[in-house]
Structures are given as C-alpha cells and as structure tokens.
Symmetry: D2
Subunit: 99 residues, 4 copies
C-alpha cells in the first residue's frame, strides 16, 4: 500500500471512530433524530472517502501490475466483483445539487 494512501485512510478511519463515539452519545442523550441522522450520514460520507482512497491505491498498485503482466481480464473481473458487493458505481450523484 502506498504510504500516502495508508496514512490518509488511517486518519480518516480514526476520525470516523471518534465521530461514532459522539453519535452514540447523541443517541444516549436522545437528541433530535434528524440531527443524529445528519451525523450518521456524515459518517457514511467519510467511509465513502476511505473507500475512494483504497480504490485509488488498488488501481495504482495491484491493478496496474496485473495489467502490465497481461492479467487484465482477471483483475477487471475482480474489481467489478468488489464493486458489485461493495458499491454503487454511480449513485444518484449529488442529491443536494438541485431540488
């Protein structure tokens, strides 16, 4: 794993862990549900960015090596499979953008 991607994803994950603790407190204190929901959604967004870092790392390392060695079919299949289980490739883009 590239040092920069490892550091970046670790920082983000540790931030998420701290943020989770504060969301747990919000539930314990029975704060207003929409406020908690926004925080939970922010956590999902942070995890999404972790996965983007991991994907970029994967593309720059394993996928690149595999293609250079002629194992394109195999690595693309695995990548599509990963995104089948883990991912919406596109999603509804940016719900905030217009209403």
């Amino acid at each position: 794993m590239k040092e920069q991607h490892k550091k970046d994803s670790l920082n983000r994950l540790k931030t998420v862990r701290g943020h989770i603790d504060s969301v747990i407190r919000m539930v314990e204190e029975e704060r207003y549900c929409p406020d908690i929901m926004k925080q939970v959604s922010a956590l999902q967004g942070s995890l999404e960015r972790v996965n983007r870092v991991l994907l970029q790392n994967h593309l720059e390392t394993c996928v690149t090596h595999a293609i250079q060695e002629g194992r394109t079919e195999e690595i693309v299949e695995e990548l599509m499979e990963t995104m089948r289980y883990t991912a919406a490739v596109t999603g509804p883009a940016n719900p905030k953008e217009s209403t």
Copy 2:
C-alpha cells in the same frame, strides 16, 4: 425516543465502532484493498440501517405528533430537508436485508 429504537440504534452503532477497529487493523497490516473495501462498505450498510431506525422513530413520534397538531407542512419540510442533506431517498440499489 422509543426504547426499542434507542436500544436498536445503540447496539448497531456499538457494533460499527468495534468493526471500525478491525478495519483500522486491516489497513495497518496492509491487507488486500478489495477485502478492506468490502468491510468499509459493510460499515456503510450498518450505518444506513441505523439511519432507518432513527427515521422510523422520527416518523412514529415527532412527525406523528406534528401532523396531529396540524403542523404538517412544517414537519414535512424539515423531513425533506433532513433527507436532502443526509440522504438519497431512493438510490440505485436495493438495500441488503437488514440484519
């Protein structure tokens, strides 16, 4: 907050917290990126289910009270706003059976 929803969302959030720690270890050990990505995605799914519980609680309590008191417009506007910031109402995908 209804006791059942509070308990359910707290249990789920605490499970996420433990799961985050194991994902952090996976990154530290530089495990295979697609394997980590799948775990991160599972975390996102767990948080999604937390938000569903909170939404259900909100509908059953605050939204119901507001509508009974004739504050429909106001509460629906707030709900749409909450989902504007926090949410894809639909999304391209079929959420996993909740677990």
Copy 3:
C-alpha cells in the same frame, strides 16, 4: 396527487426521457465512456429528484391522512417498506464535497 407535485414529477420524467435518447446516441456513436457515465449518473440524479417529489407528495397526502385517522403504525410500516425496496435512506451524503 397535488397538482404541483404531479406537474413537477411529470416535467422531470419527460426531461429524463429526452436525456435518455441522447445517451443512447452517445453509446451508438461510441463516445468516450467516462463522458457517457457522467450523463447516466446525471439521469440517476434526476430520477432521485422525481422520487423526492413523490415522497413529499406521499407525506403531505396519504401519510398525513393516515396519521390523522390513527393509522400511524400501518402507514409508517408501509413507508419503511417502500424505502426498503426503493431506497437508501441516507447514502454516503455528498461524494463531491471533499476529497
């Protein structure tokens, strides 16, 4: 269905229909895949907004009536079920926001 929501969702759906035709042409002309992908994603976003309009209409009409008639449990259950099949309640928020 409220006139405003009906008109709004119909306009959006008809725009999507026209947009689909242009995406079909892009594929027929074998345009650059990332360019097509962005258009497909824009379509998903447009459909997302249609569903928000429909959800708002549903909340303002059927859900409100049901709650006023004391059928809260039933209507919330149906709503959660609708969003179970059709929806990510939250989603990863806004992927664009930070990188």
Copy 4:
C-alpha cells in the same frame, strides 16, 4: 467500445426508455406514490447497471491501454474524477443482482 458492452448497454438503455414511458403514465393516472417510487427506483438500478457495463468497458479498453503505455497516473486520476462526479464508489447498499 467492445461489441458486447455496446450491445448490452444499448439494450439496457432502451429498456429504461420504455420503462420511463410507463412511469410517466403512472403519474398521469395518479397511481399510488409508493408504487411509482418503486418503479423509479428500479429505473435507477437499471441505469446503475448501464454504468457498470460502461465502467467495465473503460477498464478493459482505455484504462488497460493507458497503463500499458505507462500513463497510469493520468488514467487513474481521470477515473477517480469520473467517479467523483458520477459516483458513490461504495454506497451503503448492496446492488441488486444484475439482470
């Protein structure tokens, strides 16, 4: 574009176009909103699968060529950018089995 991917994505897009027409009719007939929402969501899922086909094609053709020519950094950057604008890489949900 590979013939198989072109044909597949065109077929899917044309199915979406027909499906949109039936959703427009549902709105015109003021059918029950949750029923319409489920259909709109199915459309989003179909578009998601179109984008997966296009992504797979892009990986197997342009991305592979670029990496073989040593333009890894450039092509990965563009890919991440495409997915930044078009995509949730992961999302909270498990995409339906492609059909």
